[in-house]
C-alpha cells in the first residue's frame, strides 16, 4: 500500500506539472494579452505605450523565465497580482472559492439525493409507469441545455412569484445563502442527477439479476434490505466513478449557472479572467482546480476499496 501511495503521489505530481505547462503554453498561444484588451477598451494604438505596459507587467520576458517566475511563486504561495483588479490573486480567489464550493456541494447533494434513490426505484419498478416517467424526466435532464433551463427558471420565478433568485448582494446569513443557492444548484444538479439516475438504474438492474440477490431473497431478507444493503452497495461502484468525474466537470456546468444566476463564484471569475487574459488569475486558478480534480480522483480510487472488499491496492 505504501509503495502504491508513493507511486500515485509521483504520478499526481507529474500530472500537475504537465497541466501547468499546458495552461501556461495555451494561454500564450491564444492571440492577445491584457495590454491588447486594455488598449482595445480604450480604442488606442500607441505601440510605445503598449510596450511600456507589457514591460511593467513582465509579459515581455522570455517564456521560460515567465514560467519559472509563476511556478516558483505558486509553490511558495506568492501568486502575484491580478492584471485586472490589481489585487492579490490569493485574495481574489479566496473570496470566490467558498461561493462555488457551497454551490458545488449543494449541486452534488441534489445529484446524489435525487439520482440514486430514483435510479433504485426505477430499477426495482422496471417497465412500470413510474419507471417510464423517471426515464423521460432523466432524458430531459440530459438533453436540456443548462443555459436555457436556468433562464427558464428565472423567467418562471419572475412571472409567478414576482422575484428573481439571483445573487446581487452578499446574503445576510448562511441560511439566506443556502436558499439563494438552492435554485441554481437544483438547475445544475438536474443534469447530473439524471445521469446518476440512469447509471444507478442500469447498474441495479444488472446486480438484481445476480445469484447472491436471489440467495438473499430466499433467505427471507426484506425488500429494502435486498435493494439497498445487498444490491445498491455493489451497484454504486460505477456511480461513484461518475460522481468523481462529475465533480470535476461540475466546474463547466457552474460557469453557465453562475453567469445566468449572477453568482460571483470561481467558475464565472475564471471565464472573465480568460477573456481578459488575466494570466495570474487563470494560471493559478486552473492549477488549484487541477489539484482538486487530481485529489478527488485519488479519493474515488480509495473509495473503491472500501466499497468493494475485492479491490486491494498492493505494493
Amino acid at each position: 500500500m505504501g509503495a502504491y501511495l508513493a507511486r500515485r503521489s509521483a504520478l499526481m505530481l507529474l500530472t500537475l506539472f504537465g497541466i501547468s505547462v499546458i495552461i501556461f503554453v495555451l494561454l500564450r498561444v491564444v492571440p492577445g494579452n491584457i495590454v491588447d484588451i486594455l488598449f482595445d477598451t480604450a480604442g488606442m494604438i500607441d505601440p510605445a505605450d503598449k510596450a511600456r505596459i507589457e514591460r511593467d507587467l513582465g509579459i515581455d520576458l522570455p517564456l521560460p523565465q515567465q514560467y519559472f517566475v509563476w511556478i516558483s511563486g505558486f509553490f511558495s504561495g506568492n501568486l502575484g497580482f491580478s492584471y485586472v483588479s490589481e489585487k492579490l490573486v490569493v485574495a481574489e480567489i479566496a473570496l470566490r472559492i467558498p461561493v462555488t464550493l457551497k454551490l458545488a456541494i449543494l449541486a452534488l447533494f441534489f445529484t446524489v439525493a435525487l439520482g440514486v434513490p430514483l435510479g433504485v426505484i426505477s430499477a426495482v419498478r422496471q417497465d412500470t409507469a413510474i419507471d417510464y416517467t423517471l426515464r423521460v424526466v432523466s432524458l430531459s435532464g440530459l438533453s436540456l441545455p443548462s443555459f436555457w433551463l436556468a433562464l427558464l427558471i428565472l423567467m418562471a420565478f419572475v412571472s409567478w412569484f414576482g422575484m428573481i433568485p439571483i445573487y446581487t448582494d452578499t446574503p445576510a446569513s448562511i441560511w439566506d445563502e443556502i436558499v439563494l443557492l438552492a435554485v441554481p444548484a437544483a438547475a445544475v444538479g438536474f443534469r447530473s442527477s439524471s445521469l446518476v439516475m440512469r447509471l444507478t438504474r442500469s447498474a441495479m438492474l444488472e446486480v438484481l439479476r445476480q445469484d447472491y440477490i436471489r440467495t438473499a431473497r430466499a433467505k427471507g431478507a426484506t425488500r429494502n434490505s435486498v435493494n439497498y444493503r445487498h444490491a445498491l452497495r455493489n451497484a454504486l461502484l460505477p456511480v461513484v466513478t461518475v460522481l468523481g468525474i462529475e465533480a470535476a466537470f461540475l466546474i463547466g456546468g457552474l460557469i453557465v449557472t453562475e453567469t445566468v444566476f449572477n453568482i460571483p463564484g470561481v467558475a464565472r471569475f475564471l471565464v472573465e479572467a480568460i477573456r481578459s487574459r488575466d494570466y495570474p488569475i487563470v494560471q493559478n486558478l486552473v492549477m488549484m482546480i487541477a489539484v482538486v480534480v487530481v485529489l478527488v480522483n485519488f479519493a474515488v480510487d480509495m473509495l473503491y476499496a472500501s466499497l468493494d472488499p475485492r479491490i486491494k491496492y498492493t505494493d
Binding site: P31, D40, T41, I45, D49, E86, M163, I166, V260
Partner: protein, 534 residues
Amino acid sequence: MLVLHRLLFAAFVAFSGAVIVPAAQAQEPKRGGVLRVQQRENPPSASIHEGATVSVNAPFMGVYNNLVMFDTKDDRDRMDAIVPELATEWSWSADGKALTFKLRSGVKWHDGKPFTSADVKCTMDLLRGVGEDKLRINPRRSWYTNVQETVTNGDLEITFKLGWAQPSLLGMLASGYSPMYPCHVNAATMRTKPIGTGPFRFVELKQNEIVRLARNPDYWKPGRPYLDGIEMPIITTRATAMLAFIAGRVDMTFPTEVSPPILADVKSQAPQSICRMGPTNVSVNLIINRDKAPFDNADLRRAMALTIDRKAFNDILYEGTGALGAAMLPAPEGVWGMPQSILQSIAGYDPDVAKNRAEARALMEKHGYGPNKRLSLKISTRNIAPQRDPAVILIDHLREIYVEGELEIVETAAWHAKISRKDYVVGLNLTGNGIDDPDQNFFENYSCKSERNVTGYCNLELEKMFVAQSQETDIEKRRRMVWEIDRQLQEDLARPIIVHTVGGTCWHPTVVGFNPAVNAIYNRYRYDDVWLNR
C-alpha cells in the same frame, strides 16, 4: 428620411413614457435610500481618465467632480448649457487663447485634504502626459493637445493657455470623462481606490459582483446628495439583468442596455417603468485598409461605399430607430449633423440604392471584376453582437457588387492587435463619442497623431480645417465648416459611418431626477440630484 426618423423617435419616446413627467418630480425630494443600478460588466478600473467606456463612467462619475459640467436639467449636452461645478466661474481672454477658472473654496477630497488649483494643474498634466505621474493608458490625450500650459494663480484660480482659441475646450471639460484628480494620490491608486470630491465616496469594487458607493457627508453642494449610497450589482447576462429590473431587484438598467426589441418586453412586464430610448452617439462604421490591395484603389473603395444600404442596416438592427448620418450625430438629437440635402449628395447616402449599386458594379467591372470573376475578401469583426451582426449584413450587400465576403470573427483580446498591425482588409467597427462636439470627434478619431485613430487615416489638409473650425466662434459659420469636413471625411471613406446606434435606459418611477442626455451617453451619472421616492 429625417421626417421618418423623427416620427419614429417621437413614437419611441411616447411609447417609452419619457414624455410623462412623474408626479414625484413635483414633490419635495426625499433623503435616504440606496439606489441600485445594474452594471453590465466589470469596470476595467475606477479611474475614469484611463477608461473609454461608459462601463467606467456610469459607476464612478459619482465619486468625482469636474470643473464644469453639462446641465443635467437640459435634455441635450450642449455648449450653451454648461454649469459650474468645482469652478464657480470662468472667463476667456480677449484673443480666446486663455481660459481662466475661479475655483470653489472649502472643497475637500474624500480623504479630507483641501482641493486647490494645484490639483487641477496635476490633472491636466496627467492628461497631457507632461507630469511626473503617468496614466497607464491615456485615451483622451488628443482632447488636450491644444492646451499648452496651465498656470495657477493662488489656490483658487487657474488659467489654461491654449495654442489657438478653442471654445469647445469647455465642452470637453464638462464631459463625464473630465473629472479632477487629487495631486496627492497617484494614478495607479486611482484605478483601485479612487479619491474624489464628488457626492459619493468609493467603498468597494468586487469584480463580477458589485460596485458600492456611499454618501459623502462633506459634499460641497449643500443638502446633496439625497441618496445614502449607490450599489451597482454587476449582471453581465442581459436577459438576467432585464429580469432583475422587472422583478425590482435593481432600480435602473445600465445606460443604453435596453435595445428596441427588449424595450417592448420590459414595457409589457413592467408597464410602470420609465424608459428613455435614443441615440447613443456611438456609430457602426467601416474600416477599410487603404494600404492593402485591393482597397489601395480609390475606385474600389468608392464601390464599397456605394453598395451599402444604410436603411437596411437600420431596419434590421434597430427596427428603423437608428439615425442615418455622417461622422457627427444627425439632427434632431445631434447638434452638428449635416442636413439631409448635403448628406444625400455623398456617395452611398443617396436613398436610391439600385442606382448606387449600378454605379458600384460599373466601377468593379472597370477593374475586371464581374459575375464570373468575383473579389474574395475577409470581413473582420470583433466577436460581439453590435459588430458581428452588421458584418453579416455587409457581406450580403457586397454580393451585389461581385464581392464574396467571408466573415472573420476575432476575439476581443485579439482584435486590437490585429487592427493596430493593419492585418485586415475590411472591418466593422464601433466608435463612441464622449460629447457631441466636432473637436472631440475630429481630433480624436481622424487626427494624424491621435492614439485613437485606429485606421491611421491622415489628411493634413483636412487637419488644418479641423483647427479652423475649432477656432470659429460664430456657431452657424462653424456648423457649415463642420459639415464640409464631415462631407470630405465620408467622401474620402476615412471611416464610413453606416448607422448611429440607439439604446435605452429604464428606471422605476421611484427613481426621481435622473435625466439622460439625448446626444451623449457618458456624462450624466453624478447622481447628486437623484432621489428615491419610496
